[in-house]
C-alpha cells in the first residue's frame, strides 16, 4: 500500500509539474517554428536538451557522494521554497489578485519579438530564433530536471519520477503537434495550484526526513500533506476572492 502510494504520488507529481513547464517551453518553440521554420526551433531545442543531459551526468556523481540526510534536507528546503512560491502565486491568481498566465499572449509576444529580428540577414535571424528556443527549453527543462531529481531522490523513486516527466513531455508534444497552436486551453493555473501543493507536501516530508524526525506513518504522510496544503490553498483563494469583492463593492 505504502509502495503504491509513493509510486502514484511520485508519478503524478512529476507528470503535473513537468507538464506545466513543457507547455511554457512548447509555446516559445512553436513561435520560433512559425516565424523562422522548424530548423532553428529543432536546433535550439536539441542543443538545450544536450546541455541538460551533460549537466545531469556531471551532477549525478556529486549528488551520490552527498550524505543522505544533508541531501534530503537541501532538497526538502528547495522543494518547499519552489512549491510555496507556486502555490502562493496560484492562490493569488485563482483569487483574482494576479492576472492569469496566458499562453496565447506569450506566443504573440514571442512571435512579435522574432519578427523584429527578421530585418537581419537570414543566418542571423535563424540564430536569434534558435537562441530563443534554446533559452526556453534550457530554462524550463532545468526546472523539470530539478523537480524529477528532487521528487525521485528516494531509493527506487527516480524511475517513476522520470516516467511521469517523460509521459508529460510526450503528451504535451503530441497534443501540440496535432493542434499546432499555443496550448492555452490547458488549465495552467489549476495545474500550478496542484503542483504547488504537491511540491510543498514533498518539501515538508523531505525536511522532516533530513532533520532525522520522519513521519510515523512513513510515505503515507505525503498524500495527507498534499491534501492539507491543497485545501488550505483553496480556502485562501476563496478568502482572497471574497475580500476583493468586498473592497470592490
Amino acid at each position: 500500500m505504502t509502495d503504491l502510494a509513493s509510486f502514484a504520488t511520485t508519478v503524478g507529481a512529476s507528470f503535473l509539474a513537468s507538464a506545466v513547464e513543457v507547455v511554457e517551453a512548447f509555446t516559445i518553440v512553436l513561435a520560433v517554428s512559425v516565424v523562422r521554420g522548424p530548423r532553428p526551433a529543432l536546433l535550439g531545442t536539441f542543443a538545450a536538451l544536450a546541455v541538460l543531459a551533460v549537466a545531469v551526468v556531471a551532477l549525478g556523481p556529486t549528488l551520490a557522494r552527498t550524505p543522505l540526510p544533508a541531501l534530503r534536507l537541501t532538497i526538502g528546503i528547495l522543494l518547499l521554497v519552489f512549491g510555496l512560491g507556486w502555490l502562493r502565486k496560484a492562490v493569488l491568481r485563482a483569487g483574482g489578485a494576479l492576472p492569469l498566465h496566458d499562453e496565447t499572449a506569450a506566443f504573440a509576444a514571442e512571435t512579435t519579438a522574432l519578427r523584429q529580428a527578421e530585418d537581419l540577414d537570414d543566418k542571423a535571424a535563424d540564430g536569434v530564433a534558435a537562441l530563443a528556443a534554446f533559452k526556453a527549453v534550457l530554462l524550463e527543462g532545468a526546472e523539470v530536471v530539478f523537480i524529477v531529481l528532487a521528487i525521485g531522490s528516494r531509493p527506487g523513486l527516480l524511475l517513476p519520477a522520470a516516467v511521469g516527466a517523460t509521459a508529460a513531455c510526450a503528451l504535451v508534444l503530441a497534443v501540440g503537434a496535432m493542434v499546432r497552436k499555443p496550448l492555452s486551453t490547458i488549465p495552467e493555473n489549476s495545474l500550478k495550484f496542484m503542483v504547488g501543493a504537491l511540491l510543498t507536501g514533498f518539501g515538508v516530508f523531505w525536511c522532516c526526513e533530513g532533520l532525522g524526525a520522519p513521519w510515523s506513518s512513513g510515505d503515507l504522510a505525503i498524500p495527507g500533506l498534499v491534501a492539507l496544503y491543497l485545501l488550505a490553498g483553496l480556502a485562501l483563494a476563496a478568502w482572497v476572492r471574497a475580500t476583493r469583492s468586498t473592497v470592490g463593492a
Binding site: L73, G76, I77, L80, V81, F82, L84, G85, L87, R88, K89, V91, L92, G95, A97, L98, L131, F134, K135, L138, L139, A142, E143, T200, G203, V204, C207, C208, L211, G212, A213, P214, W215, S216, A221, L225, L228, Y229, A232, G233, L236, W239, V240, T243, R244, V247
Partner: protein, 70 residues
C-alpha cells in the same frame, strides 16, 4: 549574455520574487531543527510543527500578496 541574464532572472523568479516567503520557509525549517537539537521539540512533534509553520508561511504570504495587489 542574454542567456546569463535569463538564468539570473529565473533564479530571482524562483527564490527572490517573494523573498519574505523564501526566508520564512527556511526559518521554519531552521527553528524546527534547532528545537530538535536542543530537545525542546521531540522527533514525534517536529513533523507537525513544521507542517503548521509552513502553513502559517503560506497564509501570511497570500495575505501580503493580496494586500499588495489591492
Amino acid at each position: 549574455m542574454t542567456l546569463i541574464r535569463a538564468v539570473v532572472a529565473l533564479l530571482i523568479k524562483i527564490f527572490a520574487a517573494d523573498l519574505w516567503l523564501t526566508l520564512t520557509a527556511i526559518a521554519a525549517v531552521a527553528l524546527c531543527g534547532l528545537g530538535l537539537q536542543s530537545h525542546i521539540l521531540s522527533p514525534a512533534a517536529l513533523p507537525w510543527c513544521l507542517t503548521a509553520g509552513v502553513l502559517a508561511a503560506l497564509i501570511i504570504g497570500v495575505a501580503r500578496g493580496s494586500k499588495r495587489q489591492k
